[in-house]
Every structure is written in structure tokens, then in C-alpha cells.
């Protein structure tokens, strides 16, 4: 125990005297989280550019144009033709367009059910879908208004009209996200994504400092450390514990801002979240440790960490459910601690998931952490035996 504490104390003073380590462990992760939070801070996009092609130019078509303009999601501008509107969409000057064909008013009055065509940019899906949702709402309320007028013209009273206009009204309940804001989800997701890669990178760097032969010659400091700590295992623990604590502080600070200042809802168990965070940070640190111990070279190890963890965000199942991924991708995502910690975070904050369903991500985190720990221990034992066989001190 005293050995571990000794190495941990030494590590903390190493970090304090090493600007690169302070940057890697504290400043850079917090800076990244702040930048990412700032990206989403303005909330759901409004005033997306939108083209209106009005070839009818009647009082009726103009009233539809006005309803589109009044939609908060959109800022409309006229386009002379459909090809002009599609150029606008291709160039990014519009996220969508509405085409009101010539003869629209006449066809409406003649009960020929004219078409209103809504185009939207589905390549930039988020922006396109938000623009389309705004336009759809405006168009549907325009059609509803026109219908009311026509039914009244038919001599019907307002109460009779209601059951006619919408015989099967659909009540819509967005689950887990009543404000329909993805910001909470994204904010919650960037924490595991950033911490996973930064914790692994920092531990890789920290091990490189002590395992590599110093430029001045002589034995790597790890050998002396192991002697002082009473073995490789306590020395390793002493090195890893400070990073685990630092990154837990990073998560804690981020979450204070998230739940305290930005008011992301916390509808779940703080205890489960805490256990998950501890397991997750240990696992991320062990990935960095294992990468270094396997490669014994900082450059190769950090490249390995990069290849494993840089694409991890795509595998975490934010925006795209893991359940819909192909089997191979799903297995890979199962192996990454960030996947499970993110699921736990989302489930125990935004989705208010029953606790028993959250046992799965917790057990998965436990299994990953244990697996990584075994691999690190086996590797250390092999290295130690080789060092003994080789007659090294």
C-alpha cells in the first residue's frame, strides 16, 4: 500500500512539473469539452435559408408564402424557377424549397386538389429535416385553413367541421426528449468520447516517460520505481491511480456544468452513474497502458490508441442506434468502454431507464475493465520474466 502511495505521489509531482502532462490530462480535455459545448450552445437551429418558387403569383399562393416566412425554422427568399432553387440548395444558399405551380389558386377553387411540392436537402440531413419540418407545418396549416373555408362555404358549422377535418387526430409524444432538442444528447455524448481518447493518450505518454531509456543513458526509471514500490504491480497501480482520479475530476467538472449550468435533465441514479464513470475511466486508462506495454514505443502505441479510439464516436450509437449496426461493427462497439458508459449516461439521465436495464452496461464495463487488467498483468509478468532471464537488474 505504501509503495503504491509513494509512486502515486511521485506521479502527481511529475505531472505538476511537466507542462505537457498538465495539458494532456486537464487543459486539453476541458478545452475540447468547452468548444464542443459552445458548438451546441445556441440551441436548435432557426432561420434556415429556404427558397419559395411561386409560379402562381395569386393572393392564395402569396398567403402560403407568408405562412412559410412566418415559420421560426425558416428565413425564406423567392426563387424565380425550380432550377434556381435547386442551385441554391446545391450551393448551400437554401436548405429546402417549395414549389407552387402555376394555376394553383384556380385548381384549389375548382377542387382539383393541386400539389404543393416540398424539396429539401437530405444530404445535410439535420438541417434538411429541420427545414422540412418547419415547411411541412406551415403547408399543413395552410391546407387546413383552405379546407375550413371550403367546408364553411358548403354551409357547415364549425363544430361539425372538426370531426370531418380530422376524423383520426394523432397525438404525438416524443419520448425521453420532450423539448425535441438533441443538444442534451450530444453534450452528454461528447464527455465519454473526449475522456476515453484523452485518458488513454495521457497514460500512454506517462508510461513512455518511465519505461523508455532516458536520453542520458542508464536504466529506465520504471525499474527503480518497481523496486521502491515493492513490485511491478504496485508501481503500475501507483502510476494509474492519479490519472484515474484526474479524469474523474474532468468528468465531474464537465457534468457540473452540464447538469448544473446547462440544465441537462438528470432523471436517474447518480450512484449508477458514478460507478460507471469509475469503471470507464479505469478501462480507458488501461487501454493506454496496454497499448504502451505491447508496443514499447510511444509513437507506435499512440498510433494504436488513435486507430482504436478515434473512430469510437461513430460506434457509440449516438444518432445511429447500435442495434441497427451490422454484427461486426456491433461486436467492436461492444468492446469499447465508451460505448457502455455513454449508454449508461443517456439511460440514467435523459431516458430515465429502469435501473435493472442499466445493469447490462455496468456489467459490460466491469467485464471490459477486468479483461484489460488481466491483459496488462500478463504482459507485465512476461516483461518481468524476460528482464530476469536477460539478467537485467
Amino acid at each position: 500500500m505504501r509503495g503504491i502511495a509513494h509512486v502515486a505521489r511521485r506521479e502527481l509531482s511529475l505531472i505538476a512539473g511537466h507542462p505537457a502532462l498538465i495539458w494532456l490530462t486537464l487543459i486539453l480535455p476541458l478545452l475540447l469539452l468547452a468548444v464542443l459545448a459552445a458548438v451546441f450552445l445556441r440551441g436548435i437551429p432557426t432561420d434556415l435559408p429556404f427558397a419559395v418558387v411561386d409560379l402562381d403569383r395569386t393572393e392564395t399562393s402569396r398567403s402560403l408564402s407568408r405562412m412559410l416566412e412566418a415559420t421560426p425554422e425558416l428565413t425564406t427568399h423567392p426563387a424565380l424557377s425550380l432550377s434556381e432553387a435547386s442551385d441554391d440548395i446545391r450551393a448551400g444558399r437554401a436548405r429546402g424549397a417549395v414549389l407552387i405551380a402555376q394555376g394553383f389558386e384556380r385548381d384549389l377553387l375548382d377542387r382539383r386538389r393541386p400539389e404543393i411540392v416540398l424539396f429539401y436537402d437530405n444530404q445535410h440531413m439535420t438541417a434538411g429535416a429541420i427545414a422540412a419540418r418547419g415547411a411541412r407545418g406551415a403547408i399543413n396549416s395552410f391546407i387546413g385553413g383552405a379546407q375550413m373555408g371550403m367546408l364553411r362555404g358548403q354551409g357547415m358549422d364549425t363544430t361539425g367541421v372538426a370531426a370531418l377535418v380530422q376524423p383520426v387526430p394523432m397525438q404525438i409524444h416524443p419520448l425521453f426528449n420532450p423539448a425535441f432538442s438533441y443538444i442534451d444528447f450530444l453534450l452528454s455524448a461528447v464527455v465519454p468520447a473526449v475522456v476515453q481518447i484523452m485518458a488513454a493518450a495521457a497514460v500512454t505518454y506517462a508510461l513512455a516517460l518511465d519505461f523508455a531509456r532516458p536520453a542520458t543513458g542508464g536504466a529506465p526509471p520504471m525499474l527503480a520505481l518497481s523496486r521502491q514500490a515493492g513490485g511491478v504491480l504496485p508501481a503500475m497501480l501507483g502510476k494509474l491511480i492519479p490519472y484515474t482520479l484526474i479524469f474523474l475530476v474532468v468528468i465531474g467538472l464537465a457534468d457540473l456544468v452540464l447538469f448544473g449550468v446547462l440544465e441537462v435533465p438528470l432523471r436517474g441514479s447518480v450512484a449508477l452513474l458514478l460507478i460507471g464513470a469509475v469503471l470507464f475511466v479505469i478501462a480507458a486508462a488501461l487501454i493506454g497502458g496496454l497499448a504502451y506495454l505491447l508496443m514499447r514505443d510511444f509513437g507506435l502505441a499512440i498510433s494504436g490508441v488513435a486507430m482504436m479510439l478515434a473512430p469510437a464516436f461513430g460506434y457509440m450509437g449516438i444518432g445511429f442506434p447500435r442495434e441497427a449496426m451490422p454484427a461486426l461493427a456491433r461486436w467492436w462497439s461492444d468492446l469499447l468502454p465508451g460505448t457502455w458508459y455513454l449508454q449508461l449516461r443517456i439511460d440514467q439521465t435523459l431516458r430515465a431507464t429502469p435501473r435493472d436495464l442499466s445493469l447490462t452496461p455496468l456489467l459490460a464495463l466491469l467485464a471490459i475493465t477486468a479483461g484489460l487488467a488481466v491483459l496488462v498483468l500478463v504482459r507485465l509478468a512476461l516483461m518481468q520474466r524476460r528482464a530476469l532471464d536477460g539478467g537485467a537488474p
Binding site: L41, P45, A127, Q154, V168, I197, A306, P326
Partner: protein, 372 residues
């Protein structure tokens, strides 16, 4: 200049780590990034039904929903608690609840509401659940309304249909009509990978390079030549061949890709020289660039709309070559943008190349060993 060219080539190809980043990582990322989205799954979203009415009309409505393009009914449950649990455990992403008395209200001419619950944790999935439910419900409603008008107002079928739905909304999603997630994410991911591996690899070469007394301009020209030779092969491989292999649309003009690619490679390579001059140490360069990946992904404005990003952040992001390149490449490859539509991005990249070139030259001059 030839010497600088050779030195840069050797720096890339003789350094195991740089080669691993520039070539191997590029290949591995090309496999790993797209894997989750490969089959463009989730065209049909699973939903469950809670039918408390059980009448003929309810069954008809559920049949219509099951037949809709974007959702499929996977289970009929007897109570809401079971349905909610199915959504909690991500076995289903939506619930349609048909209340008791649905049929009776319909027959007596009263509004007969149903409730739809969609898992709004996933933006795209939620959209599919809503459209998959709303279209059949609206169609059924229009049929019923027309029937009532014919019966109550003694109208002919055509007039009744026109009154029940006086105009039709036709929706045309452009450029990614099936709403595939791969088509949406991968163009941006490919540019980002190219940018990150290039910046990282070339910055490492720069840090490990021994200072040379040769004139700065010639040194830079030789290096630029080396990057152009390498990326003349890698860029088309990554931005044309790979997307094709994944079945992504390619509507672009190759000459325009060259017009974008040239300043992009210059700007990224020169930026790497500047990063190397600022950070100085390999152990710092890699983690810092690694950390930049995720923020760049969101700052490039393809997933989170650029209109919603604070202007100050947009201005900072505009200094990174990947940002204008992601937007321009996506518009070129997936949307078939033409020269005039890409002119701003091409100019943007040339300005970045010029600025980073100037910065790299100044940094190199101050680091250059004095002669004599």
C-alpha cells in the same frame, strides 16, 4: 529543392511511424469508420402496437402502418407498460396506442384520436417513426372524411375527396433520397481522416527533420512537391475510389476535385509545418491532433448545421483546411455542385494555403541554422 523533395520522401517512407500514420492508418480508418453504417440499415424502424380497441378499424389502421415504408410492427402488446419497456430496452422505437372506443367513436362520427409515442433520443429514427405513422393515419382519415361528406352532404365522390384534402403535399428529399446514414456521414468522415492523417504524419516529419541551411523557399517547394506526388495518388484513392467501393453516390466532376484537392493538400501540409514549429515535440503533436478530430467533425457544419454554430467558433473553424473541404467535397460528390458553386471554397483553401505558407516560411527562417 530536389534535395528537400528527397528528404521529405525519405522522412515519410523511411520512418515506420509516419508511414504507419500516412498510409496504414488511412487504410484502417477507411475500413473502421464506415463499418457501423455499411448496410444503410434502419430503413424500416421497428415499432409496437397497443390495441385496446381490437375492432375492425383498429386492425385496418395497424395493417396500414405495418405496410408503410418506414416502420414495421414487430409486436402487438396488451398494455402500455410492456410497450414502454420495449422502447426503454431499444427493442422498438415507437408505440402506436389505439384507445378503447376507437371504433365506436369513428362510427358515431366523433373525432377518434390515437396516440403515437416515438423514441426521440434518435433524431433520424424519430422522423421515420412519425412519418411511418402519420402517412397511413392521414390517408385513413381522408378516406373516412370523404365517406362522411358523401353521406352527410350528399356530395359526389370527387368533391368529397377534394373537401377532405383540398391540396396535396408532395415531399421530395434531394441528394440522399433514401435517407441513408452512410451517405450522410461518410463523405465528411473521409475528408476528415485524410486531413488528420496528413497533418499528423507531415508534422511528425517536420519535427524530426534536421535543420538545413538551404534557402527556405526552395526547401518548402521541395516538400510541397513531395506531398503533391504522394497525395496525387492517395487523395483520389480516398475521395473517389473508396466512396465508390462503399456504393456512395458520385455526382462530381473530377477536374473540380483536383481544383479543390490541390489547395487542400497545400494548406494541410503547410499547416502541419506550422503545428510542428509551434508544438515542437512528437509526444505532444499526436495527442493534440488526435483530440482535434471530434470538434472538427462538429465544427465542419455537415452534421450540426453551420447556421447554428456561434459566429466566433465558425471563424476559428474556418482556419482549418478540413472545414471548407468537407463542405465543398460533400456538395461536389453527393450533390453534383458545379464550378461557380464551389468557387468560394476553392478561394478559401488557397487563402489558407497562402497564409500557412507564409507562417511556415517565417517559422522555418527563424529555425534555420545560420550559415558560416
Amino acid at each position: 529543392m530536389i534535395r528537400a523533395f528527397r528528404a521529405e520522401m525519405a522522412g515519410i517512407f523511411r520512418d515506420r511511424q509516419v508511414l504507419m500514420i500516412v498510409v496504414l492508418a488511412l487504410a484502417i480508418y477507411g475500413l473502421i469508420y464506415p463499418a457501423p453504417y455499411r448496410p444503410e440499415l434502419l430503413r424500416v424502424v421497428p415499432v409496437v402496437a397497443v390495441d385496446l380497441d381490437g375492432g375492425e378499424s383498429a386492425r385496418d389502421l395497424l395493417r396500414r402502418i405495418d405496410a408503410s415504408e418506414s416502420v414495421t410492427l414487430t409486436a402487438r402488446l396488451t398494455d402500455m407498460a410492456a410497450a414502454e419497456r420495449a422502447v426503454q430496452s431499444r427493442d422498438a422505437y415507437g408505440i402506436v396506442l389505439i384507445p378503447q372506443g376507437f371504433e365506436r367513436d369513428l362510427l358515431s362520427g366523433r373525432p377518434s384520436p390515437i396516440a403515437v409515442y416515438g423514441d426521440a433520443s434518435y433524431f433520424l429514427v424519430y422522423q421515420k417513426v412519425l412519418s411511418g405513422m402519420a402517412i397511413p393515419v392521414r390517408q385513413m382519415g381522408a378516406t373516412i372524411a370523404a365517406g362522411r361528406l358523401m353521406a352527410g352532404q350528399q356530395l359526389d365522390a370527387e368533391t368529397a375527396t377534394a373537401l377532405a384534402s383540398p391540396a396535396q403535399l408532395v415531399e421530395v428529399p434531394l441528394f440522399n433520397p433514401s435517407g441513408g446514414y452512410a451517405t450522410y456521414v461518410l463523405p465528411a468522415a473521409f475528408v476528415l481522416i485524410l486531413h488528420q492523417t496528413m497533418a499528423m504524419g507531415l508534422a511528425l516529419v517536420a519535427v524530426r527533420r534536421r535543420p538545413s541551411p538551404a534557402p527556405v523557399a526552395r526547401q518548402l517547394a521541395g516538400r510541397v512537391l513531395a506531398w503533391l506526388v504522394i497525395y496525387a495518388a492517395l487523395l483520389p484513392l480516398f475521395l473517389v475510389a473508396l466512396p465508390r467501393a462503399y456504393g456512395l453516390p458520385w455526382l462530381g466532376d473530377l477536374r473540380l476535385l483536383a481544383a479543390l484537392g490541390l489547395p487542400f493538400v497545400l494548406a494541410t501540409g503547410l499547416m502541419a509545418q506550422l503545428i510542428a514549429a509551434l508544438l515542437k515535440r512528437t509526444e505532444v503533436i499526436q495527442p493534440v491532433l488526435l483530440a482535434m478530430g471530434l470538434p472538427l467533425f462538429f465544427l465542419s457544419g455537415f452534421s450540426w448545421p453551420i447556421e447554428a454554430i456561434p459566429p466566433a467558433l465558425q471563424a476559428i473553424a474556418a482556419a482549418i483546411p478540413a472545414v471548407p473541404m468537407i463542405d465543398a467535397y460533400t456538395r461536389l460528390a453527393s450533390m453534383g455542385a458545379t464550378g461557380p458553386e464551389l468557387a468560394t471554397a476553392i478561394r478559401h483553401l488557397w487563402i489558407l494555403a497562402a497564409l500557412f505558407g507564409l507562417g511556415a516560411a517565417l517559422a522555418a527562417r527563424s529555425a534555420r541554422p545560420s550559415q558560416g
